[in-house]
Assembly symmetry: C2
Homo-oligomer: 342 residues x 2
Amino acid sequence: MKYEAAKLKDISKALGLSISTISRALNDSYEISEKTKKKVREYAREINYRPNPVAVSLRDKRSRSIGVIIAEIANSFFSQMINGVDSVAHNRGYNVIITQTHESYHRELSNLNFLASSSVDGCLISVSTETENFDHIIHLHEKGLPFVCFDRIVEGIKTHKVSFDNFRGAYEATNELLKNRYKRIAMLGNASHLSITQERLEGYKNALEDAGILFDQSMVRYCLHGGMIYDEVKKAVDELMHLRKKPDALFTASDKLTTNIIRYCNNRKIRIPEKLGLIGFSNLDIADLLTPSISVIRQPAFEMGRSAAELLIKLIESKHPPVDFENKVFPPEMLIRQSSGL
Amino acid sequence: MKYEAAKLKDISKALGLSISTISRALNDSYEISEKTKKKVREYAREINYRPNPVAVSLRDKRSRSIGVIIAEIANSFFSQMINGVDSVAHNRGYNVIITQTHESYHRELSNLNFLASSSVDGCLISVSTETENFDHIIHLHEKGLPFVCFDRIVEGIKTHKVSFDNFRGAYEATNELLKNRYKRIAMLGNASHLSITQERLEGYKNALEDAGILFDQSMVRYCLHGGMIYDEVKKAVDELMHLRKKPDALFTASDKLTTNIIRYCNNRKIRIPEKLGLIGFSNLDIADLLTPSISVIRQPAFEMGRSAAELLIKLIESKHPPVDFENKVFPPEMLIRQSSGL
DNA sequence: TTGTATGCGTTATCAA
DNA sequence: TTGATAACGCATACAA
């Protein structure tokens, strides 16, 4: 026995009225008498009738669902951001389909095709670290599929963007370390071609510059997988630690980098903040429980998700293509704790 | 300009063949000549044709999507479990729609209605802590909507279940504390009516009993929101700590309870494990980075998700209702670290 | 080997 | 005020 939801035909048969009358009655059409409406509505409630969304989608050529492409659900930033998306989408009657790239370009491509062919009405996307070519996105966008980029921004696409003030976050983080008299501050970044990595690098550079410290390329290392793979992080830090002029502090430019650095220091018995000052991007809600407690740059992930979803739905529901595009930039929340200073 | 995917009619017009010929050619029907097939396939690839899944759903009365109802995405156990679901679902060509209850019965109800009316082919559900009455689930199940229960099991529903050996996890956890000579072990549990809470309570009780320790009801406290709300946890532990015979160790029976207890002890400057031994359920992948490192009972969330998704898809795709139902019980993984012993 | 007609559930247009 | 019909895109039974 397969699940069969109630349909118009059922009501039609039961009440001896035509299907179109039922449809109009339920849609509160002015052409239908109050008496009929009442009768229809009552019976509909009784058998728990709901319009079949698949049929409505086919007819309306819209599915009332939006696709989300992110790197990883099991990441505090993304899961909080999804909560934000979820909260507005469900309020507005949209379905959310979440897909993960696990930072793979290949998976991003197939997820995007999957979503496009699933007739989502629009897409929220934060590109994978591996993605260097955005043609697949731009192509679909030009064909009329609404997109909103968030977090990791796609260059060359004319649409709304929800981003984070990476420059300021990195600047203030680096500055915090400088204030606490660290002298040789290294940076560990995500894949270097990502917009967010470049912006964070600039913030880091500028803070050093403003403090009169010469920027040293060898103090910067990148992890293509954004810190997901411990060995990659280990290799990068090992290199830094074997420099003739070792760093005395570290600025980590992603969530997973931050936690994996802590793991590294634990393994190597490197004392934070005495031997190595640390401040990094993180949305983990237990960063305060680590010893030492970790100073972090927190991104307002929930609000970013809300905002991105709102913009996307606005895009989807607008009759005409918008003339100009918003670029919402969210400010960092600095949570200064023990790891960044003595 | 709205996004319009290629359809059969486009190919039909371009090649001067009927729609049904195109359809059959693409479905590799024996009735179509190789020459035609080739021509059709080539053109289809060229314009990147993909069958419109909405039309297919309407016709086939199946949407190739499954619904997932969980408490919270931003929870390590659930996000890992979703990864498991995701990995099999996408392999089998199923769409995953995730909804969160935030532990509210009301939201569970509306999510379930939403999913059912969205024509999902089946549902994976872990009920909210608030849910004490399962009629909404049983009702839909009886009407033929396939369900698989996981983690928090629904009683009175005849279907596959994917669960965790809560008894053993709790038993071994309590036992670990006993081995380390803690004498007064308290338990902090999730909502008391949940199956998992009862099972964990039994494991805890039995371990005490086997050690010849009298079970004391006042040493057990429940948090209706599963530890989500700090103040609720605080209140519960405060009560325990003001008992005449205070506990010297604590077994926490959920992820969020474990982290919030650590927060409590930090705030109150209660030293773990000296003043209070601690072991708890947790799937956080940085439990080893806390100081002291936290001993945990880990649930194989990813595998549970995989398993649940496989069972659900099997249910969906089987012609006949299964004669008997599987009850997959996953064993605990005990990660003994510093918090549970001196 | 290919084309025509039908139905999936809904709503809008036209007719009565 | 209500009913019949067409259309959304696809797959299939039936015709040719």
